[in-house]
C-alpha cells in the first residue's frame, strides 16, 4: 500500500469543512462529558450514539464517533484528577498522580498536563495510524493465546511499581484482586466459580461498579470523617497549557508512553487501561524520583494520559486495515462501519481508500478540536474542586451510584459499588494499595483465559508457552521489569521510611 500524499491532502480538504468540523466538535464535546461521568466509558458513549448515525453519510457519522472516542479518553482524566472517580477505566492510572496533585492545590497544573498529554498521545497515535498501519497491523495478528498470556504477565509485573509503601501488602492486594477476577464462568469449561448461586455473579463482579466503588466511594467515606479538619481545597486555575518546564520535564515520558500506548492499542483486545498502567510502570521505573510516585508526580500523570489517548489511534489500525477491532470501543465502531455499508479491512483500502484517508484526517483533527475544547473548558471543569466539600462529597456518592447503575440498569451493581467502597476504605486505612486490585481485575481474566486456551490447543503441553518468539520476549521483559521494579521499590520504601523518620524527628523537636 503506497502512501498517497495527494489523496491525503484532498481528504484534509474534505474533512476541513465547517459541516464536518462542527460534527467533530459535537462529538468531542459529548465525549468529554460522557468520559468525565463515572460509569460512562468511551465504549458506552460510542455505543449510545451509534443509533444517531443511522441514515447519515459515512464521513459525518464516523467523524462524530471518532470525536466521541477521543473526547471520552481525555474526559476520563477530568473526574479522575478532580474527584478521584475514574470516568473511564483507562483513567484509573491517572488517579494515582492526578488526585494527589489536586489535593495539593495543583488541580490546574494537573488538568493542563492531562490535556496536553492526551493531545500529544493522540497526535502520535494518529500519526502512526496514518503512516504505519500496514506494518503495525501485521504485528497485531501475531498475537494468539500464548502472546496474550505473556502480555498479561508483563502487565502484571507493573503491580510491584504500584504497591505503595509495602510490597507485601501490594502482593496481597494483587492476589486478592486476581481471585476476585476468577469469580464467574470459567473461561474454558464454563463452570460458574465462587458465584454463591447469584445470577449477577456469573460473569464476576461487574468491572465498572467495582472500579467506582474502590476509588470514588471509598474516598467519600474518607472525606466525610475529615470535614471540619480540612481546609477547602484551593486551586490555581489560570493555566490552559502546562508550563514549558513541565513539558520539558515530562517529554521523555510523553514520547515513550505514546509509543507504548499506540502499540498496545493496536493489539486486539488490549486497550487504554492496560496501556496506561504499563506506561505508568515504565515511567516510575525510569524516573529519577520514583519515591514521589503516588504522591502527585506529574511524570506519572503525563505518561498514563498520553498512553491512553495514543491507544485510540493504535486501536484504529487493526480495525481499518484488518477489520479486527483493537479495543472495546473499536469493536463498537466496527458495527457502526458495517451499518454504513463499509466493511473495514483490506477491502476498505481497495474500494474506499478515500474514506480511509478521511478517517486518518478526522482522527488528526479530532485531536486539535479536543485540545481547543479542552482548553476552553478547563476552568469550568476545575471549578468543581472549589465546590463546598459538604455539597460535593454527597453528590459524588450519588453520581457514583448512578454511574454504576446506568451501565446495565441493575440494582445489584449499586450494592457492588457500595461493598467495594467499604472494602476500598478499609484497605486505604490499613495501608493496602488499591490499584493492584484494579490491575488484577483487568489482566487476570486475560492471563487465565489465554493460558488455558493455549493449553487446550497444545493438549496440555506447557512447552507451547516457550515456542513463540514474541511471547518469549514479553515474558523475558516481564522478568526483567519485575527485577528492576523490586529493586526500585526497595529504594522507594527505604526513602519513604527515611522521610517519615525525619518528619517524626521534626515534629518531636
Amino acid at each position: 500500500m503506497e502512501f498517497n500524499w495527494s489523496l491525503m491532502l484532498a481528504s484534509y480538504g474534505t474533512v476541513f469543512t465547517p459541516g464536518v468540523l462542527f460534527i467533530i466538535c459535537v462529538g468531542v464535546t459529548a465525549g468529554i462529558v460522557i468520559g468525565s461521568l463515572p460509569g460512562l466509558t468511551a465504549t458506552m458513549g460510542v455505543a449510545l450514539l451509534v443509533p444517531l448515525t443511522f441514515g447519515r453519510p459515512p464521513l459525518e457519522s464516523l467523524s462524530m464517533l471518532l470525536g466521541i472516542y477521543c473526547g471520552a479518553m481525555y474526559g476520563g482524566s477530568i473526574s479522575a484528577i478532580l474527584i478521584r472517580t475514574p470516568g473511564t477505566p483507562a483513567a484509573a492510572a491517572t488517579i494515582l498522580e492526578g488526585y494527589p496533585m489536586a489535593r495539593r492545590g495543583e488541580a490546574g497544573r494537573a488538568m493542563a498536563m492531562a490535556l496536553f498529554a492526551s493531545f500529544f498521545g493522540g497526535i502520535v497515535g494518529a500519526l502512526i495510524m496514518t503512516f504505519a498501519s500496514p506494518v503495525v497491523s501485521s504485528f497485531a495478528l501475531e498475537f494468539g493465546p500464548v502472546e496474550y498470556f505473556a502480555l498479561a504477565i508483563f502487565g502484571l509485573s507493573v503491580i510491584v511499581s504500584i504497591s505503595g509503601r509495602s510490597l507485601i501488602k501490594g502482593m496481597m492486594a494483587a492476589f486478592f484482586g486476581l481471585l476476585i477476577s476468577s469469580i464467574g464462568f470459567d473461561p474454558i469449561s464454563g463452570f460458574p466459580r465462587f458465584t454463591f448461586g447469584l445470577m449477577e455473579m456469573m460473569e464476576g463482579p461487574p468491572f465498572i461498579p467495582t472500579l467506582i466503588g474502590l476509588f470514588a466511594v471509598s474516598e467519600v467515606f474518607n472525606e466525610v470523617q475529615k470535614t471540619g479538619q480540612i481546609k477547602q481545597l484551593k486551586a490555581n486555575l489560570n493555566q490552559y497549557l502546562p508550563s514549558w518546564a513541565d513539558i520539558k520535564y515530562c517529554f521523555k515520558h510523553l514520547c515513550r508512553s505514546s509509543f507504548i500506548g499506540t502499540f498496545i492499542g493496536a493489539i486486539p483486545g488490549a486497550g487504554g487501561d492496560i496501556a496506561a498502567f504499563i506506561s505508568y510502570g515504565q515511567a516510575k521505573r525510569t524516573s529519577k524520583h520514583p519515591e514521589r510516585f503516588g504522591h502527585g508526580e506529574i511524570e506519572g500523570l503525563a505518561s498514563s494520559e498520553s498512553a491512553n489517548n495514543a491507544c485510540s489511534g493504535g486501536a484504529m489500525i487493526p480495525l481499518l486495515s484488518l477489520g479486527v477491532p483493537g479495543d472495546a470501543v473499536t469493536a463498537v465502531l466496527l458495527g457502526a462501519f458495517i451499518i454504513q455499508g463499509l466493511q473495514p479491512g483490506p477491502m476498505l483500502y481497495k474500494e474506499h481508500i478515500d474514506i480511509v484517508y478521511q478517517i486518518f484526517a478526522s482522527m488528526m483533527l479530532a485531536q486539535f478540536v479536543m485540545l481547543f475544547i479542552g482548553m476552553a473548558g478547563i476552568r469550568l471543569f476545575a471549578k468543581v474542586i472549589l465546590v463546598d466539600r459538604a455539597i460535593l462529597t454527597p453528590a459524588i456518592f450519588v453520581l457514583s451510584m448512578v454511574g454504576a447503575f446506568a451501565m446495565r440498569s441493575n440494582v445489584f451493581d449499586v450494592y457492588t459499588t457500595l461493598a467495594f467502597g467499604i472494602l476500598g476504605y478499609v484497605m486505604m486505612r490499613y495501608d493496602y494499595p488499591l490499584s493492584p486490585i484494579l490491575l488484577a481485575l483487568i489482566l487476570g481474566p486475560m492471563a487465565e483465559a489465554n493460558l488455558r486456551r493455549a493449553m487446550v490447543i497444545s493438549a496440555g503441553d506447557p512447552s507451547i508457552l516457550f515456542s513463540r518468539p514474541i511471547a518469549v520476549v514479553l515474558m523475558g521483559l516481564a522478568v526483567v521489569s519485575l527485577a528492576l521494579s523490586i529493586k526500585s521499590q526497595k529504594k522507594v520504601e527505604a526513602r519513604l521510611a527515611e522521610m517519615e523518620r525525619t518528619l517524626e524527628k521534626e515534629t518531636a523537636s
Binding site: 455505543a47 495478528l141 463498537v332 451499518i339 479491512g345
Partner: protein, 319 residues
C-alpha cells in the same frame, strides 16, 4: 373534619390520577425494551435499528436498555420479571434455550410471551484461505488423519457456536478440540492470525475476512444456501446433515393484555417491513426470518428440545 375531608379529597385525586393513567390509550409514556447483551454488539444494534423504526408506528419513544451479564441470564430474567403492562418489551435470544439445560437459570422460554422472531443465523464452518481442504468432507477427513491437530474456535463455552461445532464433529465422528474465546470476534481474529484451525460462527461474523480473501467458508449449517455467499454449499449438500441456527426475537412478560400485545406486535411488524430496516439488515448481513407469535412459539418449543438433546449428548448440559 376539615382535615378528614381534605384527606378524602387527596385520596380521590390520587386514585383518579392512577385510574386515568391506567385507562388512557396505550402507550401514553415511553416504552422500554430490554436488551440482554452489551450496547454496541450485534443484538443491540439490531434492536436499536428496529426500535427506531418502530417508534413512529407506536407513537411513543422506545428506550433500549442493556441489562447484561450472566451470559444473557440477567437480561432475560429482567424481561420475565418486568411489570406486564406493555411498557417493557424484551429481545430474547438463543441463550434462552441453552441456559436452562446447563442448570444456570430457573426459567425457560415458557415463562415468556413470545411476540415474533426477527432473524435466525446459521453457523458456518470457516477456515483460513490457505488451508489444504475446501469442503466440509475434506476438513473432516483431514481431522481424522491428523488427530489432535484441529482446533475450532467458538464464542464462549456452552455458546451457540460451541454447540454447533460440537454437533458437526459428533455427526461426522471426528475428534476436534474446541477453543472458547471471549466472543466471536476474537475467535475470528485468532483464526486470521493462524492460531487456531477453524471457527464455527455465523456468516455475518466472518463476512469481512472472507471478502478480504483471508478466510474461506467450507459450509453453512442451514437448509438453504446463504444469500451473500450463494456459492458456498450447505452441510447437507455435502452429506453432513447438520442444521444449527442462532435466533433473536421479541417477547413480553406473561400477563400483558392482548390488545396491548397486538399494538406492540403491529408496530414492530411495520418496522420490520420498513425499507430502512430491510436496508439495515442487508448491510449488516442479517438473515431475517420473521415468524409471528404462534409460529415463533412452536419454533421455540422445538428448538428447546433440540438444543437440550444436543447439549446432553455433548456433555454440556447439567447432569
Amino acid at each position: 373534619m376539615k382535615l378528614k375531608s381534605m384527606l378524602v379529597g387527596v385520596a380521590a385525586l390520587v386514585a383518579g390520577a392512577f385510574s386515568v393513567s391506567a385507562m388512557a390509550a396505550y402507550p401514553d409514556k415511553p416504552v422500554t425494551v430490554i436488551c440482554p447483551w452489551t450496547a454496541g454488539g450485534g443484538t443491540d444494534v439490531l434492536l436499536r435499528a428496529l426500535s427506531k423504526a418502530a417508534e413512529k408506528h407506536l407513537g411513543q419513544t422506545i428506550n433500549v436498555v442493556n441489562q447484561t451479564g450472566g451470559a444473557g441470564a440477567i437480561g432475560h430474567n429482567a424481561i420475565r420479571a418486568a411489570r406486564p403492562d406493555g411498557y417493557t418489551v424484551g429481545m430474547i435470544t438463543f441463550e434462552l434455550n441453552s441456559l436452562p439445560p446447563q442448570g444456570l437459570v430457573p426459567f425457560t422460554w415458557k415463562d415468556f410471551d413470545p411476540l415474533m422472531r426477527i432473524n435466525s443465523d446459521p453457523a458456518a464452518l470457516t477456515v483460513r484461505k490457505d488451508a489444504p481442504y475446501s469442503t466440509v468432507r475434506g476438513f473432516m477427513d483431514y481431522a481424522k488423519e491428523h488427530p489432535g491437530e484441529i482446533t475450532i474456535g467458538n464464542s464462549a463455552p456452552g455458546s451457540v457456536w460451541h454447540i454447533a461445532a460440537g454437533l458437526a464433529a459428533e455427526k461426522t465422528g471426528v475428534q476436534v478440540k474446541h477453543v472458547p474465546f471471549d466472543g466471536a470476534q476474537p475467535a475470528v481474529t485468532s483464526l486470521v492470525g493462524g492460531h487456531i484451525k477453524a471457527v464455527a460462527v455465523s456468516v455475518a461474523e466472518v463476512r469481512g475476512q472472507v471478502q478480504a480473501g483471508n478466510l474461506k467458508i467450507l459450509g453453512v449449517m442451514s437448509a438453504d444456501r446463504d444469500k451473500i455467499f450463494p456459492d458456498v454449499p450447505t452441510f447437507k449438500e455435502q452429506g453432513v446433515d447438520v442444521q444449527f441456527y442462532t435466533w433473536r426475537g421479541l417477547a413480553v412478560p406473561k400477563g400483558v393484555p392482548a390488545n396491548i400485545k397486538a399494538k406492540i406486535s403491529d408496530a414492530y411488524k411495520k418496522a420490520f417491513d420498513s425499507p430502512e430496516f430491510q436496508e439495515f439488515a442487508a448491510k449488516a448481513s442479517l438473515n431475517l426470518a420473521y415468524q409471528n407469535a404462534a409460529d415463533f412459539t412452536k419454533f421455540l418449543d422445538q428448538n428447546y428440545k433440540d438444543v437440550e438433546a444436543v447439549m446432553k449428548s455433548l456433555g454440556l448440559a447439567k447432569k
